[in-house]
Symmetry: C5
Subunit: 325 residues, 5 copies
């Protein structure tokens, strides 16, 4: 699905035909959403794009900035957190968005829907002043900016998950909680894998290395770069929070085992000796007067019960002092 | 709330009107506390501040130093440790303070109360000699210095918390102790997130890169930079102390489980065999003379009791040797 | 086993004799598979290769790029995951492939089968256009590219193993699962040991440092370099996944111990007191009317049974509330 | 307490008066031990020392080297391991020693006793040849060298502690052992905090950056720098040893719990079934001939005892095979 | 023990007298094994060696390369794994070997036996061609090369230990296994401490910084440097393997505790309820017909036995399903 837009001064005109869009005066923006191989080939031919860059559009590669003879290639990944297929709940889905910046044209391509690009394109069509005047590099900046802003939304989702986990860990020893923790850890891992190269790639633009980036646009890319640095920071912070939550979870489990053991110990320690005592008076030595005279005593039974009650009382006090109860 | 101050040589004069403050001879300092959008716009217009910097004043971004055409923008965060909203006890609250340093003016802005700035402004109004003579960059230094000094107060609070935790961990296995540990860990994490970029941002000033920083002021920024390095060091040290406390806590719990197990083992090991013995003489084989002759012995009962007492004695000695008692 | 190929413009000719291949016009490619010492010596003499490089062909050294007077030496390791000899299941097997790039010749050598080289050689013989025209450095690039692509296959195998492990860890506490985890950890470790130096070595070529690398080939090496960076990234991510799986495994074990303890505690806590009660009424105090009057009561037995049933009911409710059941 | 010494060629003369010491020909060394504010002010005035450096003399800051207009400021911390105030046994005490190196003078200041400086001063007074001839930077080197040598003594103390701990951990599960481990960890942490900046600060001198450092003195500072690098290495190694000791300690505890559990399991597993058996023959079914005929058998009792002995024998063999005994 | 050798072109001549060796034409190599202070002083005087370097020969310092006015000083440590004095089994013993490279001379010194040097010296005396022609820097390279090759032997020993440990950890929970693990960890730690500075020191020679290193020798030092990098890599890999083995060890212990608990739980859970049942029929309620009518039933006893057998069967099935058996 190829859309072409040529804009200059105050108007933006949509073209159906790639060739005439290329010839029109102004900044030409060609966008290919859900790009098929034929569409890619057509655009590559029209703008003489470098074949290695095209391989990257199709493959699953890291974000990058590459300078070619007469155009700069920027690959950025849009990312969102979606329900996954595995036992773990969610996963980070990414769509690569390729941006080629030429002298007076910009080409964007994606094998996915590339909604962020669409949003910027709509703004141009509506005649957004900031975009119309500032050339192809500023358009590229806007696309990158929208993609990076969506990273913050993803991190907000992650934060919500972490807060939910933090509430669970102090009360639950359910293995599902650990799986949630691991799931968030995976998400952060796989997100970080996207963000680190993006930071590097945008850093090249922020330093204004490629000749297609005008001096006044550098500061804008520097701003996006700052956002990416902040995102990397947040990712690290969230990783630390998740690892703290995991510690509490594991401790809750140890705590639980400790509690269970205390219950067992208290019950066993109280009743096992008592059972021994009643066992003694269950022995059949009672036939001769000398053996087990207690059995013949008038108050033998109540005395035994009283003795056992005292034993229990002593033990309860003892256990309370040791903090078992 | 806009305050404007113009100071030269020996006097500092407060102005109500931004425009006349701008025109007055001397160093013009405009401060906007609890800045509203209108106030920000007014100051931006008066001093021609860069729009990207203004976005940073409003947003929640990292400390930074950015050089623009005719002014340098420094963003620093004042931080304090306050009771938080979550189950965890305290949290690090930060207020961004934006400082714009021009040739003969300095603008400070904050969406919060920005008490540190107020304190420096008071000193200027009182006619503090050091501040009156040395130009806008030295004023900026003083603001940064006051903000960074407050970081040490925050770390003192953290240290007090750590000391309290260190006393608790050797006696308590309460999960609240672990939550306290996690809370401090979070605080240090979130504080470090503020300090690292601050160190970088002030490093730029300490190297004297921006042209608004005079050579004799560099050393002062270098001093603040040294403080920030020390603060980063302290933060790392506290993280290590907290992690040491956590180890002791977890060990106290294992220790407790171990103790509980020993009690159970001692009691069960002593009484279960005894219960078996008394069970033997509770059997009903006693009808024929051949079966269970012990029951007929004159001293059968006392002999059994004696035997069991010996068993207990042997076990107690054994357990004492193994260190269970 | 020495193969020699000379290719120019549109044809590739195989030569049996090293000397005449060296003299022929075009790019000369000599490949030595399963190289014996004699074969190596012959090729070294024909192309005047540096002795230190030859030591590296025979030894087990890290990937490297070394520039000599008139040729560049690249050592790359082809790697695959194969069933190992130890108790641990699989291991990473590597074969060093040495590539010498001269002005109009390229020499490849390996003490192993070096299938990736063979595949490129076949493509040249079949007359692959891209390879015929672009000189020895492009041929070297193709060999490196095929080797690096095989790294992705190895990582796919590792990913399959990790997925299998992730399914196992939540249900099994078998020590074999931990051994599988350790096995994958070892594989990743030993693979990373191969990839890091490769990244560095190809980086030298990507920067175009050696004079044998033509400017238009640099971008291709840069592409391989990007792949290696991505492979390093993947390796780190997989290490993190494995470590997450290990955490879940260890937790499953703790969980299991906790469960076992709960069962024991519930059973013991219910029956030990009951056993005590029945023990009481097994005592032989019953001879005088005063002692143990319960024994004489008409409904003594059913009352005791009822009492015990109530005790059990109370305990079951209690345990359910504490989450033991 | 101000001491002043002027030395040249072969003699060192002590002066009471700061002003005349300053005027005398030769290298002037002024040392202020247990410096009061008045003393500091007097020396600052006499040598025109930079105010920021003076703040560092009084405060608790990191080691540093700072170059001012006509003198270089070096701050180094002397460190020793002393019994601490907290529950943890020892702590690292540091005293800052400030060294100002001028063209023909050196000033040393400390708010503490600064014994290392005193030792160097005594050597000068005794007429140590090496020191008399080589100027103020060599004197500074000697002071730094003596301070750094004392670091090795501190690490020797730490090593002794670690050896003691390593002996304890395999036999004791006492929580005091863990506290000792944590104490040493704290000491190393707080020592490392001192050594890292010192390494950096002396590195500046080793590179001979400040103009007060003569080329022939650089090598000596490089030697001290090497010592500091070695000290950092040792600190890291000791940290690893301590963490290894901690692992063994924790394992000893797990080991102990495991042992306790085995004892309990063996005793309970042997006697609980036996108690059941004797319970069977304690049942009162014996009234009719059909019920419990065993009770009437002539050898019923010995047969039961024999049966139980066999059960015990089987279990003991079983437990020995499983390694419980 | 001083040995002196002068070699040129095709012959190597041993000298007894240091002075005449110094004067002879050719490369002079003086080696001092088990150097006493007098011997060191004699050689220092003859070759005018720098005093700081001499301190390093005697002390226990890190490997280093230092350039002096007319000679380069290289300190390298030969290392071997020997049975240690402590409870832990083995330790890394190192002997420093000092190498001074002059224009036409090389001096080697060691306070130990320095066998690697002796081996190279023997090769020179035997007239090894490679060594005779290439000057003092190549001789130095050979010494370093032999020392570094011995590092691989040490690592082979470590690998053997690790393999032994890996076999033990899955079957043994003996604390001696953990001590072995810790021992290997210590060895690797202390070995790495030697190798890191060596890598750095040889790196200086590999870059050919010192003027005594001829361009054609650089590549040889680069080769040694590659070996050192590989050794550092191996050391890291072994550390990871050891830490993996430690995890399995700890898990085996947890596994064992889990198994013990299961045995206890199964036995207790089966027999405690049975003991209760037989206790019930051991009660003395049997006097009136209404109480405990079961005792009077004809098949009361076999019915009870049957009931208990069924209970056992149900429990066994249950336990098997839960994986306890």
């Amino acid at each position: 699905m190829i859309s072409a837009l040529v804009y200059a001064d105050e108007t933006a005109v949509a073209y159906d035909d790639l060739a005439s869009a290329r010839r029109a005066v102004g900044t030409t923006w060609v966008h290919v959403a859900e790009a098929t191989d034929d569409e890619i080939d057509a655009v590559v031919a029209a703008f003489d794009l470098h074949p290695l860059a095209i391989d990257d559009v199709r493959g699953d590669v890291r974000a990058k900035t590459e300078e070619y003879a007469d155009h700069t290639f920027v690959l950025i990944k849009s990312a969102s957190l979606t329900p996954g297929e595995t036992t773990f709940e969610k996963e980070v889905r990414t769509t690569p968005i390729a941006i080629f910046i030429g002298r007076d044209w910009v080409v964007t391509m994606s094998t996915g829907a590339a909604k962020p690009v669409q949003r910027v394109m709509d703004a141009v069509e509506r005649g957004d002043e900031r975009l119309l005047h500032r050339g192809p590099d500023f358009t590229a900046y806007r696309v990158v900016d929208v993609v990076v802003d969506a990273y913050f939304d993803l991190l907000d989702d992650v934060e919500t998950d972490i807060e939910e986990i933090e509430e669970e860990v102090t009360v639950s020893t359910d293995i599902e909680t650990l799986e949630k923790i691991n799931d968030v850890r995976r998400d952060l891992l796989s997100f970080r894998k996207q963000v680190w190269p993006a930071r590097e790639a945008i850093g090249v633009l922020a330093r204004g290395d490629p000749q297609q980036i005008q001096p006044q646009t550098e500061k804008y890319f520097r701003d996006v770069h700052d956002h990416l640095v902040q995102i990397v920071d947040l990712t690290e912070t969230y990783r630390d929070l998740v690892s703290g939550a995991r510690d509490i979870y594991l401790n809750t489990l140890s705590q639980s085992t400790n509690e269970v053991m205390k219950v067992l110990t208290v019950v066993a320690t109280i009743f096992i000796p008592l059972t021994f005592v009643v066992g003694v008076y269950g022995m059949n030595f009672g036939e001769s007067a000398y053996n087990m005279p207690e059995l013949g005593w008038t108050y033998g039974y109540p005395a035994t019960l009283l003795g056992m009650t005292l034993m229990v009382a002593v033990m309860l006090v003892h256990f309370r002092r040791r903090g078992y109860l």
